[in-house]
């Protein structure tokens, strides 16, 4: 126990001497949190630029434009000709544009079914999809308005008009994110992903630095020749920092920002603690497998970046190629995400997420097979300098 305490004191000294540790852990986490939270603070984008080429300039077409402009999602930009609008869409300045043909008003009055054409830029995903749905809604409302005029002229009662225009009403409910906030959706998993990345990189860096700077024998001596004690003491310092970061993150998201959560924020804290522990184990595995700081850091970087995609919170895992689906399980973030779905979205409690706890705990066994290899590297210091 005394040796572990000595190693901890030694590690604290290293931590204070090298600013990279505090910058790469606390600094990076704070910066990323501030970035993603403020970047998507509106939840959903609004006032997306939608172009309108109004060749009719009638009261009907103008009221259509005004109504579209009045929606929260869109902001209308007027164009004189189709080519300029098309070019602006191609350069990404417009998310969509609508062409109202000449004689639009007359054709509607005379029931000649005028053609309205709309173009959606589907390369900018969120903006395009949102504009698309708001244009569809507007066009349907316009259809309804024309029908309403006709029915009113026939003397149909207002109540009946409604059920004739819209016989079916669709109520959409979003479970776990009632406001369909893109920020809530992404940040809930993206920020823990950033923490996972930090944990892996720092674990690899802290353990690997001893090899690189040839201080591993000194570390082993401090720990009384036991690698277990050396690693325990070393990790104790970082575990404390990561734990504080993780719990702060959960409290910040669910307590301060009031991100929707059906279950308990404390279970989410358990989730992030398990994520931290699993990521540390993964980091130890990487440095043990490649006891060479440079290589291990590169491998850790590739591994943690891929974690974001393979966790399956953007493109679901079942949509990936069958051969790749299994790989998602080797990333702690995947299990964090599945735990989060059960606790924060469905609130199903222990019965829902106990399997993910088991999966994350399984990661803790990872350092065992590479233990000898790391010990060998630490004692013999066969580190290639170049």
């Amino acid at each position: 126990m005394r040796e572990i305490w000595k190693v901890i004191r030694r590690e604290v000294r290293i931590f204070r001497q090298r600013p990279v540790y505090i910058l790469a852990s606390v600094g990076v986490m704070i910066f990323n949190t501030v970035f993603y939270v403020t970047f998507m603070q509106d939840g959903l984008p609004h006032d997306l630029p939608v172009g309108i080429v109004d060749c009719d300039r009638s009261s009907t077409s103008r009221s259509f434009c005004q109504q579209l402009d009045a929606t929260q999602l869109s902001q209308v930009v007027y164009y004189d000709d189709l080519h300029r609008a098309r070019r602006d869409m191609q350069t990404g300045r417009l998310t969509a544009f609508i062409v109202i043909p000449e004689g639009f008003n007359d054709d509607i009055q005379a029931s000649r079914q005028p053609h309205i054409a709309y173009y959606v830029n589907s390369l900018y995903f969120v903006g395009g999809a949102l504009s698309y749905s708001s244009i569809l809604t507007m066009l349907n409302l316009t259809n309804g308005a024309v029908q309403r005029q006709f029915l009113r002229a026939r003397g149909v009662s207002e109540g009946e008009i409604l059920s004739r225009i819209q016989p079916i009403v669709l109520d959409a409910h979003q479970i776990g994110n009632t406001t369909t906030s893109y920020g809530v959706y992404l940040n809930s998993v993206l920020l823990p992903g950033v923490l996972e990345m930090i944990v892996i990189l720092i674990t690899v860096y802290a353990v690997g630095s001893e090899l690189k700077y040839g201080t591993s024998r000194h570390l082993m001596k401090t720990a009384g020749g036991s690698l277990v004690k050396a690693i325990t003491g070393k990790m104790a310092v970082y575990t404390l920092i990561f734990t504080v970061l993780g719990i702060s993150l959960e409290l910040f998201l669910y307590h301060w920002l009031h991100y929707p959560i059906k279950g308990s924020v404390w279970w989410m804290c358990l989730d992030i603690l398990l994520l931290v522990a699993a990521a540390q184990a993964a980091g130890l595995f990487i440095i043990g497998l490649f006891p060479n700081l440079r290589l291990a850091v590169s491998v850790g970087a590739i591994y943690s970046v891929l974690g974001f995609s393979l966790a399956g919170f953007t493109l679901p895992v079942e949509a990936m190629l069958p051969g790749l689906r299994g790989f998602s399980a080797i990333f702690p973030l995947r299990h964090y995400y599945l735990f989060y779905v059960q606790e924060a979205i469905f609130g199903s409690g222990f019965a829902g997420w106990w399997q993910e706890v088991v999966h994350l705990l399984l990661f803790l066994g990872l350092p065992l097979p590479v233990f000898r290899r790391l010990e060998d590297a630490y004692v013999n210091q066969r580190y290639e300098k170049d």
């Binding site: 990279v20 970047f39 309205i116 589907s122 959706y185 970046v305």
Partner: protein, 411 residues
């Protein structure tokens, strides 16, 4: 400018060439940098293409709770099942059963039709249908919403036609009434809203910038660790030599990255059958501007790196941030002012947009002229910053060396 010596240009070129060759040798003898450049630069595009191979999610399982069980509700469910987006996983007898399936993640949405749906329609009242989407992925929500809206609109038309027929309208006049406007939908560039096309288009250029930044900073960090400084490398360098050092080193990266960049921007889209709507030479022009900008960008910011591995530890999380700053997902117009200003720091902001507009949206060089202009401005600024960094580091290094003189050198 300095015309005091005739051999100035000759000396300049000789120095430049020496630095160029030296840097190439450094890169090719450093396994780590080679891994980042060639494995990282080429592996990531392939991996991302494999991960996002199927760009869209089809037939997500949905539980249906049809309490009405009438002709209209059944037709609705059948049409819903027929959509590309959703499939009926099972018909449940109660909401509780469907909720249980949702929690078990066997289904990702619920379609609920209340008991009075058919009778409401028969009474010419509004019938209600509820959908419940699992928000753990936006694609589930999008699919459920799209499918239910499409079916709803189609059903509404059917019912309206029936109603008008009852009132004595049929044929052409009824369909004109039901649909007074005819809409023509045009979704160019990415018709199925494929995740692959949207993500990869942005990621390809970013991979170029980030691997170059990480690789070159790693090399610079290595040199600084050994108490060398790239700024004073060639001993026979004459004059201040900032331009020679920056341009000489830059040429080495240019040579490597024109090869990697061509593979990433031309060969990878070809291999994975991504849209390629621009002429190959237009892509190469954009690539030229972008790579040069990235080189000076990397040199400038690489100044902060003092040790080999710290670039990853400190700056790895910048990659996803850069990706968001390109506006590929969260639209550019909705980015808060501060972050929009930050986005102007990175070449990727303009490079990715230009590549998307040029290659995927089929623009021309004229279309991407504003981005090219921005890249040029950045290049000039970063060139001078990189020179200033060399100058400052050179000074610092000389002063340190001077102070350290009495000691024997360490490495």
């Amino acid at each position: 400018m300095k015309k005091t010596k005739i051999s100035y240009a000759g000396q300049w070129l000789r120095d430049w060439y020496g630095i160029f060759i030296h840097e190439l040798r450094l890169i090719f003898s450093d396994a780590g940098a080679m891994v980042v450049f060639f494995v990282g630069g080429l592996l990531y595009p392939v991996l991302y293409n494999l991960i996002y191979y199927n760009g869209s999610v089809d037939e997500i399982p949905v539980a249906v709770v049809d309490l009405s069980d009438g002709a209209c509700s059944r037709r609705f469910v059948q049409e819903f099942d027929a959509t590309r987006e959703c499939e009926v996983y099972c018909k449940c007898v109660s909401m509780a059963e469907a909720e249980q399936l949702l929690r078990e993640r066997k289904v990702h949405g619920i379609l609920y039709i209340p008991r009075d749906f058919d009778s409401c329609l028969a009474r010419m009242e509004q019938g209600h249908i509820s959908t419940y989407a699992d928000m753990s992925s936006f694609l589930y929500y999008k699919n459920l919403r799209t499918a239910s809206s499409l079916v709803m609109l189609d059903e509404v038309h059917q019912i309206q036609l029936e109603h008008y027929a009852e009132a004595g309208f049929d044929g052409q006049s009824a369909s004109t009434l039901v649909q007074p406007l005819v809409t023509e939908e045009n979704i160019p560039y990415n018709r199925p809203f494929s995740y692959t096309i949207f993500f990869i288009s942005a990621a390809l250029m970013l991979v170029i910038q980030q691997t170059m930044f990480y690789g070159s900073s790693m090399l610079a960090g290595t040199l600084r660790e050994r108490n060398h400084s790239f700024a004073s490398l060639p001993d026979r360098l004459q004059g201040l030599g900032m331009g020679r050092v920056v341009l000489g080193r830059g040429a080495a990266y240019l040579a490597i990255y024109l090869v990697i960049g061509t593979i990433v921007t031309l060969l990878i889209p070809y291999l994975f059958r991504l849209p390629q709507h621009a002429a190959w030479w237009e892509i190469l022009v954009l690539l030229g501007f972008f790579v040069v900008d990235c080189i000076f960008f990397s040199f400038t910011w690489g100044t902060l790196i003092t040790r080999r591995e710290t670039v990853f530890v400190l700056f790895l999380s910048v990659s996803p941030i850069c990706l968001f700053l390109t506006g590929f997902s969260w639209p550019e117009t909705a980015i808060p002012g501060l972050w929009r200003a930050v986005s102007y720091i990175f070449p990727s902001t303009f490079g990715c947009r230009a590549f998307i507009n040029l290659n995927t949206a089929g623009g021309t060089l004229q279309t991407i002229a504003p981005e090219i202009r921005a890249l040029t401005v950045q290049t000039v600024i970063y060139y001078f910053l990189a020179c200033a960094a060399v100058f400052a580091e050179n000074r610092l290094h000389k002063r340190l060396a001077h102070r350290r003189e009495p000691q024997p050198s360490e490495s």
